[in-house]
């Protein structure tokens, strides 16, 4: 952990991360990166990161959502402010909790693994030091992983948010369309233009952080020293949590302060 803390505090590490993020985003956005091999790599990564966990993750989201909705709804009813319960649920659950949870889930399940993989490649010498890294290696090995992680976060996040919204409606109004107008009105109140843009921006940043930080930190493992792998992976996770937390807090600060 101490080693991880060192990674967090080391400016060189952050500079390396920034540089890698710049390369990777630029490469991920350029169509020429996606050679058949790179596409296959990306599809495979998405399959493992998102598809294989989709059912479990959605089930977990559903349980958590129902519990949270019930808690908020009951508490609001107890305090006599039940007219605000729906708005509260949409604001807290859909806008804050689900994106954060998705980011952390993908980071825990896949980030550490991808980070370890990259660190091992670095140790075995498959990837040269990132300072002199060749464009082809970066593109073919790392950029598809970055794009896949970002897309996975996007897919899981979108579906989980949709599921949570649907559950919210069902818990509040039951299996009927009677509450559609009320629900629409609250949605209109909650998601004004700023909130919507902020929400999309936050999801994008979460996706980028989950995609970039474990890989960038994995590159910090030292060639020929397998013992540096766990430290690099741990440092990547800690950094990732740190960044995700910062993004979440910043979005809250911008929205409510």
């Amino acid at each position: 952990m101490a080693y991880g803390g060192e990674f967090i505090l080391r400016p060189r590490s952050w500079r390396r991360l920034g540089r890698f993020a710049g390369y990777a985003v630029a490469a991920a956005l350029s169509p020429s990166t996606y050679t058949p091999a790179a596409r296959e790599m990306a599809v495979r990564q998405i399959y493992f990161m998102a598809w294989r966990v989709l059912a479990g993750y959605l089930a977990f989201t559903a349980v958590l959502s129902v519990v949270l909705i019930e808690v908020v709804s009951r508490a609001a009813h107890t305090y006599g402010v039940s007219q605000y319960a729906l708005e509260l649920v949409l604001r807290v659950l859909v806008l804050e909790v689900i994106p954060l949870m998705t980011a952390l889930f993908v980071a825990l399940r896949s980030g550490s693994e991808v980070g370890a993989e990259v660190a091992l490649m670095r140790v075995s010498g498959e990837i040269e030091d990132s300072e002199q890294i060749g464009a082809s290696r970066l593109y073919s090995e790392l950029v598809p992983r970055v794009a896949a992680a970002a897309l996975s976060v996007f897919a899981l996040n979108t579906l989980a948010c949709a599921l949570a919204s649907a559950l919210t409606y069902t818990v509040f109004f039951g299996f009927t369309d009677a509450g559609f107008e009320d629900f629409t009105r609250v949605v209109a109140n909650v998601y004004d233009e700023m909130v919507l843009v902020g929400f999309l921006l936050k999801c994008l940043l979460f996706g980028l952080a989950v995609a970039l930080i474990p890989i960038a930190t994995g590159l910090e493992a030292e060639r020929g020293q397998p013992r540096s792998v766990p430290f690099a992976v741990l440092a990547g996770l800690v950094k990732l949590f740190f960044v995700v937390g910062i993004v979440a807090v910043l979005s809250l600060v911008v929205k409510y302060v």
């Binding site: 091999a37 296959e40 493992f48 402010v81």
Partner: protein, 334 residues
Amino acid sequence: MAGQPENPKGAETGGFSLLPRSLGVKVGILIGLSIIVAAGFIVYVLYARGTFEQTQRLYLFTDNAEGITVGSDLSFAGFPIGRVRRITLRPDGKVRISVRVAVDDAKWLRETSVFVLDVPLVGAAKLRAFSSNLQDPPLPDRAERPVLRGDTAQEIPKMVASVRSILESLDEMTQSGSSLQQSLNNARAVTERMAGKQGLIGAALGSEDNAHKVLAAIDRANALLGRLDGVALKMDSVLAKTDQRVLSQGGLVDETQKAVAQANAILGDVRASLKRVDGILADAQAVAGNAKAATADLGALRAEVEASLRKVSALVDELNRKWPFSRDTQIKLP
């Protein structure tokens, strides 16, 4: 991870051969579904916010827009029909609240509609519209209307001040020695007297002596009234008698009529005498020169005139005697 590509270099060496076809389809479905859901969600939010809806504008003016935020509802009969889009403070210190009302719902707003900003003790402020007559002409686009403010929280200090002054007044009124207390004491004294032996009169006159006097006076007045009754009966009989004496056959009026007839005859005589006097005077003028000759005639005439005057005098005396309106108040009825 177990699912990590079995051969990390597969992508470079094997190309598509290592990638099961179903895997690509699944990932395609996942990504496609996510994109559709995300796009649908954004479209739904835009729909909810009325982006695809035709709206008309309404500008509301108020001194204080506290509690109103962008996105607040304008409700009519409890149903939201519009939404606050912008709140600006104008140079003259008034707040302008821009409200967008869906054209479909604008029918609830009329020229005579009233807008109220209701600030409850708990919860967000609410903008409400009241339309008393839905037959009035509809509210035009970009109409400007004032907002009445119903602020419970603002009313409370005023109410507390009023209540305090009321309580102070009550305190003064209920203090011992206050005028209300004295009034109550007096009222009690009066009611005690009323409950006493002399009852209401005793309460009104203050003491039992006075009450006794009043009762005695009433008794005397009753006796007096009894006697007055007898007097009235006597008066009745006197009047009947008088009636009989004055108006009956041979009564006062009858006699007077006779006397008047006599007087008429006498006056006829007097008139004849005077005519003769006229003639004599004419003669006298004619014979003025021969007065001596006429002296004998004058003497006779004078005797006649004196006789007539005596008759008149006697008649007047007679009249005076019979008629009751002479100065002599002693009337002797026949």
